[in-house]
């Protein structure tokens, strides 16, 4: 193992990791917004839109991100829609993640008892008010495990971004292998880079999950164990 080589190339990986993280962050933010919009449209039963949402969810969940990216990056320019590498990556990740987030929220919403809605309606609250103040906060809490799993899933999915010519971690690793033949070093750094990004998220994720599940809604006794 050539540690000098590793040391020299750390900045390269740092750059790549930064790129991966920032694009993942935008994509995840986009996914949450799209996911919330979709679940709101479904919950409020807005005609036509809910059919479009349903179609989008099926399309997005049943196709690989890689193919979505190929279409965005190589296909769309042929009809004059030219997106930058970053824009493609963020759009692709949002297109993919939006449906996963929508499904997570949806499952959370379905978990809220129907009587909660009725109780809210009977206080004179509208469908929108009920959704925002009563359904959503409870749904988000139950959807938290799925939500965190989605975040990790989406960060992992960013590993294909090199196909839209982004100098991400995979790209750097492949490049180094090609130039220097230092395969072991390049791969080790690749694995370590992903561990450094994903391990803390995974750990924080399960911590949040526990907090929301037990401590949420005032049930602190479950945590202290009595």
């Amino acid at each position: 193992m050539d540690f000098e080589f590793i040391y020299e190339n750390i900045p390269l990986y740092m750059e790549a990791a930064k790129l991966t993280i920032s694009i993942a962050a935008w994509g995840i933010l986009g996914s949450i917004i799209i996911g919330l919009l979709c679940s709101m449209i479904k919950e409020l039963r807005i005609p036509v839109l809910r059919n479009i949402v349903q179609f989008y969810i099926e399309l997005s969940r049943n196709t690989p991100l890689l193919i979505q990216l190929f279409f965005l990056y190589f296909g769309l320019p042929k009809v004059g829609i030219l997106l930058s590498s970053e824009a493609c990556a963020i759009t692709g990740l949002t297109f993919l993640g939006g449906s996963y987030m929508a499904e997570a929220f949806r499952a959370g919403i379905d978990n809220v008892a129907q009587s909660q809605r009725e109780s809210s309606y009977s206080l004179g609250m509208t469908r929108q008010q009920t959704f925002i103040h009563i359904i959503l906060p409870q749904a988000v809490a139950t959807a938290m495990p799925a939500f965190i799993a989605n975040v990790i899933f989406l960060i992992k999915e960013t590993s294909v971004f090199s196909v839209v010519a982004l100098a991400d971690l995979m790209y750097v690793a492949k490049d180094l292998i090609g130039i220097s033949y230092k395969t072991d070093e390049a791969l080790l750094m690749l694995v370590v880079a992903y561990l450094v990004i994903l391990l803390p998220i995974s750990v924080i994720g399960s911590w949040i999950e526990r907090r929301v599940r037990y401590a949420g809604f005032g049930n602190r006794s479950a945590v202290s164990g009595d």
């Binding site: 099926e58 399309l59 969940r61 049943n62 196709t63 690989p64 890689l66 193919i67 979505q68 190929f70 279409f71 190589f74 296909g75 769309l76 320019p77 042929k78 009809v79 990790i152 992992k156 999915e157 960013t158 590993s159 294909v160 090199s162 196909v163 995979m170 690793a173 492949k174 292998i177 395969t183 072991d184 791969l187 690749l190 694995v191 992903y194 561990l195 994903l198 391990l199 995974s202």
Partner: protein, 225 residues
Amino acid sequence: MQDSGIEVLFQGINAWRLWQGMFVSLKLAAISMALSILLGIIMGMIMTSKNWLVKAICRLYLETVRIMPQLVLLFLVYFGAAKHLGIDISGELSAVIVFTFWGTAEMGDIVRGALESIPKHQYESSYGLGMKRGQTFVYIILPQTIRSLIPAAINLLTRMIKTTSLVVLIGVVEVVKVGKQIIDASRFEIPTAALWIYGAIFMMYFVVCFPISKLSAVLEKRLQV
């Protein structure tokens, strides 16, 4: 629409070639899935072990697989093995190794969940009838877990199919590679070929995965009772 370029899909045997490429991916997914089911059942049984060391190792295995992008694992095997074993391991073989390694962990966790949901007295009453551990597992426990296993396994299959799209990045000639060849070949006559080819591949994945996910959802609902 006479100049849209959609004709690229119908020229010669282009459509047929694309599907052939698709079958390469599907074949890899099918082989990996079959192996994952077999090994996953064994893995699931091991995962229910009470031994802390076995538990810790299983946990480490599962978490590693879950946290590492599949593409990273593919690179590790494809580039790493080539160097250390001195053999040029093919992209296909790398894919089967990686997807089986991943699928076994996921399947194992599904099986573990199913096994742990079976009440203890089912084991006890079977032992009480004089059955051995193996017999108990095959005749009593496994049939009861099938209900929850089948939808989850089918769901894993769609994930497997979608993930096999990655193999183009380690040089396997599959649908995307074939698509690129067609695009290159018709670069001058049909400049918009990329749009239609990638659009077609996109829909092909949908056509394959959508019925399978629907089946999984339907089965889940029906077997839940």
